[in-house]
Symmetry: D2
Subunit: 166 residues, 4 copies
DNA sequence: TTTT
DNA sequence: TTTT
């Protein structure tokens, strides 16, 4: 009935942009989110949390996120399950994000040091809130993937147009 | 760095209270959280989200929650992994809750109908916010269970005193 | 850049539905949200938090919420300011909600007692998530009201069509 | 019953650290949080949201936050009211934060440019989660200030030891 | 399989 | 009274 998640963490690697057979953009990435305590060895562990974004937000994320970037994501926690090669049910949890904030500018060559004053550029570079018709709309979808979108295999993701949850 | 989840859903079955070898209470339950859209068949699907609570909150949850109850849970999303019998890594996601709200009173025999004015009673019955020293404390823990606390097998959970994340 | 609020509380009185000159529905209500501690006198204080909803969600709230109902609201915290009669700046804070959940059924005459199994009915009765084109859209708005929408005076709220934040 | 806020924004000025007569640290600051849309004039407005932190977290914030810094804050929304000089009731809303994250390093002298790899230093510099005994504890408090803690006047804040909400 |  |  209510399902809200807010995370801040760093990308464990570059985001992956794929398209459904019908051309809908899907970007996935993983955030390493430090736990609020250190373990027996005095190390800070992290949770590695999968994020999925769709459509415009997916494209913005693919364009502006990079491995290591500090990033905020907001959305709902979804638990999917699918059968693996051996016919076993595997459970996958992921955040379906409708809001992603880029907390570090692109710092690319030539941008070192003046992090303080490129806010506007930063914003133009893609902080983006999912909106508009259909975000959580519901005509004819099935939200179960046939495969794990985080199992990157170079092929288009196995999901038909009617499979989109929005 | 920041990891916050708020859920409202219904218990899929009665909560399970167990104790670590050192006597620390752990209660687990699963919330069915309806998705905000209906699928192709016009049905509302749900995510089944595992919740873990510790110590005092665990005992309160065990006492006052029941299958079917509407419940709010607040905490952080944790991704654990363990090896199953076949030596495969299995990933488990769960909410480590520090705040649980009982949105329905116990309505047991004799309490039907006046849900509207037993709010205070409701509160006495155990809405509870995890607090006090050590909630997210960090002296010597290892947060990986050796087994899945949601795989209820009647035995005490396989976790030593030093294994507690708080 | 990111602004998310989740509340659970009870309506302090019936919601108020009004319309802008251009016919856009606005419903306001106040949630009493108990604080997580008791005060010196052993009493539990509460925060009284104003909620604003727009359009379809406004109408659903007006139809299904009533004084005393346990309710969840999700949205963003907004701080407006206006000048009062004496030319003083007054600050008003409110939650612009995009998701409201009715945690108690209408229990009206004849519905007492079976709260446990009318979940689906409950949902039909109006739990509602703001969606669709324009939720946070931005063509031509000014988000400052000229007066406090919570100062109920029986007149249509003083806000022109162009004043809508979405 | 449940009251959770997560914000990301920038400090409108340096934080202010004060002490209660009994020596409890209180730090206040204001975050400018951009709204998710632009107004009629194409400008992005912001909400200016007051944050209060207590004890250890207050001291860390005073040490490491500065005007302009991008910052995340998590806590609960509190609505206080007090009487002003003219005997009028004034309402004040603020976030009582129990978790603050410093999203930009101190970049002070000698630290320009390598924002990417000073994470650990950053963390040592004070990201801090309120914890431990008493955070939301409740023996004998009164949460109404006699004055506005955001009305900085150089004097110690007018709040007795027993007045602390935790 | 992981980020800083 | 406001930040970038």
């Amino acid at each position: 009935m209510l399902n809200r998640v807010v995370l801040i963490g760093r990308l464990t690697r570059d985001p992956e942009l794929r398209y459904t057979p019908n051309g809908v953009a899907v970007t996935t990435f993983t955030l390493a989110v430090d736990r609020p305590y250190t373990n027996q060895q005095g190390q800070r562990e992290a949770d590695f949390i999968n994020i999925v974004t769709w459509r415009g937000l997916a494209e913005t994320c693919a364009n502006y996120l990079k491995k290591g970037r500090l990033t905020a994501a907001e959305g709902r926690l979804q638990i999917r399950n699918y059968e693996n090669n051996e016919g076993r049910k595997v459970y996958v949890s992921e955040i379906v994000a409708d809001n992603v904030r880029f907390l570090e500018s692109t710092q690319g060559q030539g941008n070192q040091g003046n992090y303080g004053n490129d806010y506007q550029g930063n914003d133009q570079q893609g902080n983006y809130q999912q909106q508009g018709q259909g975000q959580y709309q519901s005509q004819g979808q099935k939200s179960n993937f046939n495969d794990d979108p985080f199992a990157s295999d170079g092929k288009p993701i196995d999901i038909s147009d009617d499979d989109l949850p929005f």
